[in-house]
Symmetry: C2
Subunit: 336 residues, 2 copies
């Protein structure tokens, strides 16, 4: 039998096991031009919360009583497609199933000799590209400027802080545990950190950003961002990547921000990585070069077992991950 | 005796007569390089509310027990400066005094043959330039797009809607009286209007912006903008010019907006006209060309009497003006 994870009810606040169900089904058979895939690693990402709602958004909502889908790495175990062979490792948007049949188009073959296959879901995948384009295209950091990053120890944030250092900026990172702030300082070279769970964020920002804030890479929104807006410098840029603090809060309210934007001529730009689709190769080039030069590093938090995908996803909203949160579903076969 | 209008207390909410005092002083004498000016017209503008607070902002706060200052048109009645002669009409930032002494530098001589001298405070002055740069530089309107303008019948908004039509866009204007919405439709050629005091703004926006909103020129913020964010199209641009709905509301709260920005990859840019100082001549060129071609028109609401400046200013927050709100203090002398 083949296990699948379905969305069975749309969460109004935090997603829980009530909204999700593990379902057993027969193993599928690939048709012509299709491949049978064995899931190896599943990526769980905060943006997926948005697809659980049926509000109009940039991606279609998940269907009820159908498998949830997301970024994943899988192995081709049977191929009826010319482009892919048994044993190939691919990445793509896949349904949460232990085995799945897909058209070969839309899958990207990974060369495992270039690095661990999990990097295609992290630093050399969607989170890495999100960090690169948000910071470089919207943040436009200049040497000596102060960059503030919220959610700094996550998959996107931990890449942003490192690119910020490569650009010659002063980088301040906000995270929610001392383990994360230590990682930011000791492993990633961040100049100052704030633990938003133990420190007064407003006071800490004033102390740790004495020259104000020029670029704010925002993954979280909510109370943390409320404390940031008053400290933005003239012509500051905000890359609005996420708002995880609001995802599970219906009708979330906070101080209005328009006056801060006017006062300091601030730019905010919301974005998703898909906006930069035609520049992905530029992003990959920079990220893989920096990675090979040792200027970029990354962490992964890997949960084991297909049945633990939901808990790994729920944990994102508790901040339980350091770096990229993945779920390992199976070992690649000997061959790959 | 020479009358002056002082700020005597900083308003926490709406400014009233309690915060302002008319003071009498001796008539000043111009020194070397200085001119004695007779105030003719005073401009009252929403941004001046910000200078009444002592919060850090893009311009220094007004000093307590000193004259308020703002844009004005005045006549030179005595000159000790080579650049200016008796009878010249000038515009500049002047203290609210019937007669004032100023250095000739910083004053701009107006050529009254080019048009009414009051236009230097309106369509060919700060409000006109604000409209031009906010719409063209931030809004970047493309032919056929939908532009929404809040505060559409004010000095800035009424210029924005007309430039929007010149750019070939569908223009929707929001204002607070039927007189204003009629003016927008009948005089300025706006495609659709919303009276936010008598209509349900959310429903009206959906009806009157059936293709969504590509550019939002926002003068007001508050509840009106709350209703706009969900209707923004992918890659919409918001020129955040003002937030008059929040100026008099301490700790104003509303729905958080970050998720709307992410969902549709929206750009918001706060600005003030001073950001474009080195491009003013470009703005003047376009505005005066359109004005001379009859493509731009303007309204003025003129209150009479120096002592009525405070009431004219307070009225801005009630929306009592159509087009540019001015106060006429004195007639120019025969000579000019």
């Amino acid at each position: 039998m083949n296990r699948e994870i379905h969305l069975v009810e749309r969460p109004k606040a935090a997603p829980t096991h009530e909204h999700i169900k593990i379902v057993e089904n027969n193993q599928p058979e690939p048709g012509s031009g299709e491949v049978l895939l064995k899931m190896l690693y599943v990526s769980v990402d905060p943006y997926m919360r948005g697809r659980m709602s049926d509000a109009k958004s940039y991606v279609a909502p998940f269907q009820l009583n159908e498998p949830i889908e997301g970024g994943a790495v899988a192995e081709v175990v049977q191929s009826n497609a010319d482009q892919l062979s048994e044993g190939d490792i691919i990445t793509g948007m896949l349904p949460w199933k232990e085995y799945t049949v897909q058209k070969a188009e839309g899958l990207r073959k990974i060369d495992p000799s270039l690095g661990p296959i999990t990097t295609s879901l992290g630093i050399l995948g969607m989170p890495g590209l999100t960090a690169y384009f948000g910071l470089m295209d919207i943040g436009q950091p200049k040497e000596g400027e102060t960059i503030l990053v919220s959610g700094a120890a996550g998959a996107v944030g931990s890449t942003v802080v490192q690119i910020g250092k490569i650009m010659g900026c002063r980088v301040v990172g906000i995270a929610g545990t001392d383990e994360k702030t230590s990682y930011l300082k000791e492993e990633l070279g961040v100049d100052a950190t704030i633990n938003y769970k133990t420190e007064n964020v407003s006071e800490a920002l004033q102390e740790k950003c004495p020259d104000g804030i020029d670029v704010y890479f925002d993954n979280v929104g909510g109370d943390i961002s409320d404390a940031v807006y008053p400290l933005l410098n003239k012509y500051a840029r905000i890359a609005q990547c996420g708002a995880i603090a609001s995802y599970n809060v219906p009708n979330d309210k906070g101080p209005r921000i328009q006056m801060h934007l006017i006062k300091s001529s601030v730019l905010i730009k919301g974005f998703t990585v898909g906006d930069y689709q035609n520049r992905f190769s530029e992003g990959f080039q920079h990220l893989s070069k920096w990675l090979s030069e040792g200027k970029l590093t990354y962490e992964e938090t890997i949960t084991e077992g297909f049945e633990n995908i939901p808990d790994a996803f729920f944990g994102l909203f508790e901040g339980s991950n350091l770096g990229k949160q993945l779920v390992k579903v199976a070992e690649p076969s000997q061959k790959s």
